[in-house]
Symmetry: D2
Subunit: 352 residues, 4 copies
């Protein structure tokens, strides 16, 4: 089918390189997507930098990486019935087996045989990418094509904000968002859109704190200068936050999250810490009857329906979070920007 440009890890080390390789062909149950937008995730930074996690996790090189993606279906493989060429789709990046016990009980996103697009398979920083037809979500009207690649991390935020118990604790309750990278920023806006009050954004980076304000946070807290536990407790009449959304992965922040949590409150853990984390289970979890919920991926596909509604109706506007755009060939600049601390979400456009 011709060739395409692809950003590839060619060796097990820092960096990546653009190569001209064959356009892949969709197999049975797969679709070929012509990439419009592919955004950079923290995972992509790890792969680019080739840290310890990448060394242990990436099965092979060379490989094309990138997984936050939207584009047009160019071709479909055999046994694809519900998506047609020409459809504009975003990709769910959790590739589930469909037959393990978690898949069979409606929890495919934590499939026992889970594979990840752009980690376990060739990814989306390229002219084209192959994804399972099941994973191709038709974007529909009302969502700007340039914003569609962020539906995947936005879905992370939706899932974390609702939690795995349904989100009934969110409306009219105080919510603390710890860590205002893109997912934290999305969460601030989602919590507001779902009726939370009041929303605390806790983030040491001043630029990101300012973005949190734009996304609707009621209070901005700089944990490098103030004590977030004290502020959240005081501003909630001593109750604490009914919901804490932990997006930083910082061990100290996780501990603080348990301390600012209200009695009977819920904490969603999404940020990935670097190593084991030490917690005061007695006073901060057991006597408090805290609920600590691990969060990964998105419910397939309830989260995508929620994401689509929030974005297409304008309930949430992601524009402020999309701070930078680059053509694919300027990938080095894109990665530097994403890692700089002066950006939120960075999107690359292979076709531009």
């Amino acid at each position: 089918m011709g060739t395409m440009r692809a950003l590839r890890k060619t060796s097990k080390g820092r960096g990546a390189g653009l190569e001209e390789i064959a356009i892949p062909e969709p197999g049975e149950g797969e679709v070929l997507v012509r990439v419009h937008a592919a955004s950079i995730c923290g995972t992509d930074l790890h792969i680019y930098e080739w840290n310890e996690w990448a060394e242990n996790r990436i099965p092979r090189v060379p490989m094309t990486f990138g997984h936050e993606v939207a584009g047009w279906v160019e071709a479909v493989g055999p046994e694809v019935h519900h998506v047609q060429p020409g459809a504009f789709v975003a990709a769910e990046t959790h590739i589930a087996c469909g037959i393990c016990s978690t898949c069979r009980t409606g929890r495919a996103h934590i499939c026992r045989n889970l594979r990840i697009l752009g980690v376990d398979t060739d990814g989306a920083f390229a002219g084209y990418v192959v994804v399972p037809a099941q994973n191709a979500w038709v974007v529909g009207e009302g969502i700007h094509p340039d914003h569609a690649s962020v539906m995947e991390p936005f879905g992370n935020a939706v899932h974390a904000t609702f939690g795995t118990e349904g989100g009934e604790d969110l409306p009219t309750n105080p919510v603390a968002v710890i860590g205002c990278g893109p997912i934290g920023l999305f969460s601030v806006a989602i919590a507001r859109a779902l009726g939370a009050w009041k929303v605390f954004a806790i983030e040491p980076n001043a630029e990101r704190r300012a973005l949190a304000g734009k996304m609707g946070a009621d209070l901005l807290i700089d944990p490098s200068a103030e004590d977030p536990v004290e502020i959240v407790t005081r501003e909630t009449d001593g109750n604490g936050a009914e919901v804490v959304l932990e997006m930083s992965g910082n061990a100290k922040a996780i501990d603080q999250g348990t301390r600012m949590l209200a009695r009977g409150g819920r904490m969603s853990l999404l940020g990935l810490p670097d190593g084991p984390v030490t917690l005061d289970l007695n006073d901060q979890v057991i006597f408090k009857e805290a609920k600590i919920l691990g969060i990964t991926g998105r419910e397939m596909f309830r989260t995508w329906q929620q994401t689509t509604t929030l974005l297409s109706t304008g309930r949430v506007d992601v524009s402020p979070v999309i701070t930078h755009r680059f053509p694919l060939e300027r990938f080095e600049e894109a990665f530097e920007t994403a890692a700089s601390g002066h950006a939120a979400k960075v999107i690359m456009f292979p076709g531009s």
Copy 2:
């Protein structure tokens, strides 16, 4: 009203002494209970031994301790309408304020101004004890009076087994109970009565493991000789336990609990660790979407209704757990037995 014998902490140190003191009078909204049975809790052992926790937690001496109690209402104070003298009652030991935000939203057992019977107030190792009328649960038919003082720790087990999300994950699912003290032993039987399959009991003490077998455990695991994570994983076809009930408070066991937990599973934490606990949040909580639930006390009073039904209908028989009985004056023997590792629940009878 005359005098009574009471087991008292007379000084801030090890031990306790029997004293003859005035029978207390019930105040407004309170009832006076003539104690039939008062059982020894781990908390009482801490108070008796006067460990660091007791030093920090007990507000004053002298004080009468003991809180697992059942007996007859002897007298009622002003403004008590629904309990009459002569009623046989067991005591809920969480004394709630009734007006804080957690109380006002149906979670009185985690009241912001919580006081504990026999810790913050004079307790039940005595001829008589005063409790708030609200906390006096009429035992009703079908429960042996000698067993009624264990309704309080049994209620802990009920609450932990159901969890704070309703217990829908329990029936037909594998459940691992870590730590087979009295509450763990009760949990084994409760899980079986609610349709769990299969129930793993993990406990290093051979006598307690044997009791777990009597209570209905399907598999007994000695964690000092075998790897409980490996066994639970293997015996569940690699899925792990859908529900883990952590009753040991042992840091290593808590870590193992997260490792034997199924993807999407739920872990109830009731056992109190000695200090902070270090956990692998990434692989054992976040990627797994585990739910970690702190558990304390009993729902007031849904748990008491459940407890009453389980015991009065014979769905659960607590007899095997009640290993020793003593008159109050043999308290030294009672405490030694309770601490010996050769006992489960020890009950004292002040009237015998």
Copy 3:
């Protein structure tokens, strides 16, 4: 304590009369409230008109009626600890026994021995009213005193909108509100504030439909001119409304509600039909796996916390619903207005 004016049913027939009667005294556990605002509920219209329901339900005359009320605590009876004279409070009107099995399991609003303020006791269309201290909700900052008497019916709307299962089906889902009296109008705004999309308001009265638009409805439907089932179905791509809030009590509308409900959807029934209602259970409930939830009163007091937040933060503005205000002596005009079809919520001010 002197005398006050009170609007009284003096005989079992249409109408009511102002009388000068003794100011009541608060008993044990009760507070005396100096009434600032008392709004007219549909129930009050029934009592005023003395229809069949009133004939069967009202235990005795003479009696003062009215139950939607806010005012200042003037005095407190014995055993009242947490509310002080001078506090500005609104009244929960469900007076629960506190000791039946529903009360003891956190569902006091459906107490087996329920009494209603202003129906079973003397009510609030008067200078002063006595309410149990438990039922006095401190209004707090941010809510206009003139609006506080509508916290009770607003709470009905909150409870119906969340439903008894937690409200997780509300955000990002289409919601149909059938019947736009005050509670339906509140529900429109609440659903919007909690992130629902899209909100259909179904109401034959053009003035009320216009108010629904002001409260945030996305689509206004006149069921006397259009087929609401067809419109809701079409506007939801054939799925139907995930949530239907039935506020009309109209038998035909209830049937239509089940027909516009999505597969797996939830319908809250709050409007009281005049008689038995005939439903197509097979196609509209069973094959669809509909959830039909009866709704009455407010969760005590979770709903009041939610109400307070929604109103005090400005998430919902009730001003458009409060269409008329009268001093108490103009009660005849007030009742005529409330019954006219040209009003939404009518408030009387005894002190003005």
Copy 4:
């Protein structure tokens, strides 16, 4: 592939005939099952008798009917990966599209494009039947092959007993089962196995009532001789049944079900009434805050996991419900028996 015997509707009228027809071939994603056991459902009786429902619902004749089935996978079509020839499977009979909004949100059993095996497709009263590979549930150890065809109606009972809200209201609570056909009988045993107390079985047929006793009902009620509402109310201290499982489809019984329901209780509707049903929504649903849940099919495939555990561990023994067995050629006798009122579940064995 040769020919097989099949019980066919050859015309739109009463009865059916055995024909020798070609063994079907499995298409893409399908498996061919050699039928071991196929049991008769009420739906099959309707098709056999060709009542009004059948006239309207069955798309075409000739067709092979029957859908409760278990057997060995004989062959698999293209794109079938997880089931192999030789596996012993039972069939889920709801054939879902996989791509509609209910399917995409984990509710495939109420798929918008639902087809039913043996109703919309050729069924299982034959030597062989084709089913989608997705619908083939590997039975596993511990379940007698002769019992495996009843996993489908047993799953109905499991789903109705848990309800769509998770079943947390079941353990330790009184449960009334109305109608003791096979699904009602299964429900009695399931409720007992999940810790319900006490279980009322309401059924006019004396033989079926006796079977309900064998399945573990605590109280047997003959609604033709006694008032079930009065008995259930009295035997629950005036509270009513926390859970009512309506399996009869009888309009009067449905009304009685609402009346025996506790305040805040839950009623699962599974039995299909002949026509519209009239209910007292005010007193029996709204003021009571009843939850009325429509129930159809089985959760795919959580219910199958639950079913497998309940049967394979012996928690429930279905033997008493399987009252009759016939070879396929004695189908007339089988259908007469099933319709006679002297049978519960009747199974035909095509291979015998």
